[in-house]
Symmetry: C2
Subunit: 547 residues, 2 copies
């Protein structure tokens, strides 16, 4: 779409979808959508048409930018529409139904800190809400304006700040601008033989700044995986001044300044730059998939792995539904996808120990247990680095999933995911109850049975992060309301188990009710006071985190 | 001393020193003090007498506690004097010279959250400053009151809250009261086969709450070692209410509430309880010491180790002075103390790889290099779990050091430590400049040469934490001023290299100037606002972190 990306440092020949996930040319076509819909009872017989920007009624901007900032600002209606929402299922449906979120009056693309500061100054004077925008991949309503307390809305797109500015190869760290998209970030680091290895599912369409502002969860299934742990220092432009923390490997000097801004979702300031910790690219890799007949046994195996010293890079447990959906197993087995990697030493022995541990909890690795695609690579795990059939199937499905979700949305289906984290004592019941209660709610809301699958994306010695996929019929024209109902049921289960409203998708606006229940009230007082001090005019991403 | 410890859950037959480190009976006697002093030119010929509480003029309390709280409060002069300061060198000297810090009017020992809340309510109404107090081992002026803006001062001693309340063996975590001292904490966990493995030098004389409030650095030389990383949730009593965070393995829901209180040093609330992550007790251990002729080569070896996948539990590099002082080497070598441990698998192979890596950077392990005590255990490292002579020498010295410091203080010497952390690019010059500039300042201040040693206590892929020991002559009656001068010189070097004012000793009152320079101003605004919201009457540990 015209005008959506003017990123001199991050050029691409492909066009982003304004209404759905990722690349416009990667979406399933009408035939594929129809075929998918046919698998899900209660959906439409033909896909909804792909929405066109020119069909939207886009009002003229309510404010005029000052001449001094005009070079940073775009008022193109298509560009503005593309910045009106993130990429949650509910956003996609709203676009399909011609009812997107509030379209921002302006899109600003600053190129340096001073530009950000000038834009904030102007917005503060004019009571213009500022919604920081990275790759726009929020799935929790993090990048749209709701309400009417401001004179106008400006989307602050950081992607013109997309460079790796400095690399410290000795200390394995780099200073990187916040608007750098995942692929560009890794491309720029590759010449130095280094990598951040932060690969959320949104990797292609999200930025370092977005990861930092939302405490994104990354590549590693165990150990340090949240982007938080890779931060040496932050530069944050706030209406009250620019915050530059010192670049440190560790410190005990008061509460961490960085940890206040990590997860602040644009409500306290605009993260413009960070020094982040890097790694050498892994030279040794090995992976395997282990099948389990019994999901609870698989949970015990995963807990044992998480509590061992093995530190698998990948340790994702797919329940039987998720395994079937991704093609990792078709016999009702759950599948544990294991992967090890190191820049330093061979990982065969660790994989073998991990497989043995999984077997001791009832896992099947050798493919002889009648589990179809599972354990397709015979013999030593090292023989098939990255190559196990079930592992590959799962990986391809992982990257394609958001596109398929949008295809299902075009068939009038409800198709969405959500995630959480809880201590091990809560995990088995929590998963069962989400499956049961969301499934029952779907039948009640739509009259058709739903699919509720679960995988563990990240595991810790003390708990795990379950990730749920819901596929259900919709109610024509009312799909968002159906989803909101199902999500409310799910959130009740999470709250009952004191499981977090989000492990790595952020709070945004969609998770505010759950977040407000979870957050200790004295901390809310402190956060509100901090916001009042840094954003006294209340222009920064209003409605996110605190009011 | 009478009255200093009324800890029903943590009984001990030994008596704490009111004026110096640790146990009263562990201090060097006059003869040992004299012998130590003789090694350091410019010190006294006889030790200063051990100070007696009864020689202090302790005024009557300026406030009377209400009857409803009287059972929690002690006004015994000895108890109050013992709560007047922490255990920094400057505190010890002030006690020796009969000029301790402001003696609190009352010592309160609540037994539950309600007691803490009631005490805070009363203190707020009466404008009584509240100084939270765990084991009292602060070395940065964290537990004393300075100034006169309050009507009275209450030391809030948490050690009557010293129990492990709940253990989750499946998820390896425990709910523990903040006043639990290190040894009692480990004793209570041991019955469950679990351990926190947080062993700061102050372990015997510090509490979980103190560790949390000061972001203490712990046992592990690499990886996760700050207590921060072991926290699942916190209970914090603030004047604005009780903050209970949810017990979670990880979360991405907004800025971490726990991270605001971790390092808040009693200025935002009183931490009363935490769920912390535990581990199984290690069953496999191995250690070795590697000698280096050249300190910069040793630094490179340590960096390579920190950037490998080896994760040594111990990876402490002693420079030649430190190695000599601790008896680890007497030939001018620097010594790298390496240790591995695991509950899970043998660690021999890892130690062997680590030793090989150290050798590739010029390290000597086999003892054949003429380095005396170094590498005393021949053959396989696994043959001597914990047993290497240099390792043992260093460990004994480590625990005895604070007592020796107090003995030197009695000889009129300046004897103190400080620590920092910085990225690898800064480390070599930073260490050189601290040695040189503090050494020169000591000569200027006292007329005698000083010893300035360095060790790395914790190392990270991106940097390290150097820890300095300064031994110098004093100026009779003016020792504190001499130390303050030397510390100011050291702090200038740290500031020049943007090295943190503290890696794990906390800010307290002594580090405020350095902290104020280091902390980004917008974060200071946010912190002040948070303090205003949680402690509107400004009674909590006044002078710490923010004003």
């Amino acid at each position: 779409m015209a005008g959506t990306t003017s990123q001199p440092t991050q050029p691409t020949a492909r066009t982003r979808s304004w209404w759905g996930w990722g690349w416009a040319d990667a979406h399933p076509d009408d035939a594929e959508c129809t075929a998918m819909g046919a698998l899900l009872p209660g959906t439409l017989s033909r896909p909804l048409p792909v929405p066109r920007v020119r069909d939207l009624a886009v009002a003229a901007p309510a404010v005029e930018p000052p001449r001094s900032l005009a070079h940073l600002i775009d008022a193109d209606p298509g560009d503005r529409a593309a910045h009106s929402m993130g990429k949650a299922y509910r956003d996609v449906v709203r676009a399909l139904r011609g009812r997107p979120g509030r379209i921002p009056d302006l899109v600003a693309r600053p190129t340096d800190d001073q530009g950000v500061a000038d834009l904030l100054d102007w917005a503060g004077e004019r009571q213009v809400a500022v919604v920081p925008y990275g790759g726009g991949s929020s799935v929790t309503g993090g990048v749209e304006y709701r309400g009417d307390a401001h004179r106008a809305v400006m989307s602050l797109d950081l992607t013109a700040m997309g460079r790796v500015l400095e690399v410290d190869t000795e200390g394995r760290a780099a200073r990187i601008q916040a608007g750098t998209l995942g692929p560009s970030l890794e491309d720029q680091l590759r010449t130095h033989g280094l990598t951040l290895r932060h690969f959320p599912q949104s990797f292609e369409f999200s930025t370092l700044g977005g990861w930092l502002a939302t405490r994104a969860g990354g590549h590693y299934a165990t150990g340090r995986t949240h982007i938080d742990d890779f931060v040496q220092s932050l530069c944050v432009v706030t209406p009250a001044g620019i915050s530059n923390s010192w670049r440190l490997p560790a410190s005990g000097a008061g509460p961490s300044p960085d940890r206040l801004f990590l997860g602040s979702e644009g409500a306290l300031g605009v993260i413009t730059e960070a020094w982040v910790r890097l790694q050498e690219c892994p030279r040794h890799k090995a992976s395997a998939a282990v099948a389990f007949t019994d999901f609870r046994s698989a949970l015990r195996a995963v807990r044992a792995l998480a509590q061992s010293d093995l530190s698998p890079a990948n340790c994702r447990l797919l329940d039987s539904g998720e395994a079937a959906l991704s093609g990792a197993a078709h016999d009702g087995s759950s599948v544990l996808v294991l992967g090890f990697e190191s820049a330093d030493e061979p990982v065969t022995a660790r994989l073998e120990r991990a497989v043995a541990l999984a077997r001791s909890h009832g896992g099947r690795y050798d493919g002889s247990g009648g589990d179809g695609g599972v354990g397709g690579s015979k013999g030593s795990p090292e023989a098939s680095p990255d190559g196990d059939a079930a592992v590959s199937a799962w990986r391809s499905a992982f990257l394609r999933m958001p596109y398929l979700r949008d295809g299902l949305a075009r068939m009038g289906a409800v198709a969405e995911t959500f995630e959480t984290a809880a201590t091990w004592d809560r995990i088995p019941d929590l998963i069962d109850e989400v499956r049961r209660e969301v499934g029952e709610a779907a039948v009640k809301a739509t009259g058709f049975p739903a699919t509720v699958n679960c995988r563990l994306t990240h595991v810790y010695p003390d708990g795990a992060a379950p990730y749920f996929t819901v596929l259900a019929a919709g109610r024509a024209g009312d799909e968002v309301a159906v989803w909101d109902d199902l999500k409310a049921v799910a959130s009740e289960v999470l709250n009952r188990h004191r499981a977090t409203i989000t492990h790595h998708h952020a709070v945004g606006r969609d998770h505010r009710p759950g977040y407000d229940r979870q957050r200790p009230e004295p901390f809310a007082l402190a956060l509100r006071a901090a916001k009042g001090a840094l954003d006294p005019r209340g222009i920064l991403n209003p409605g996110v985190l605190v009011d």
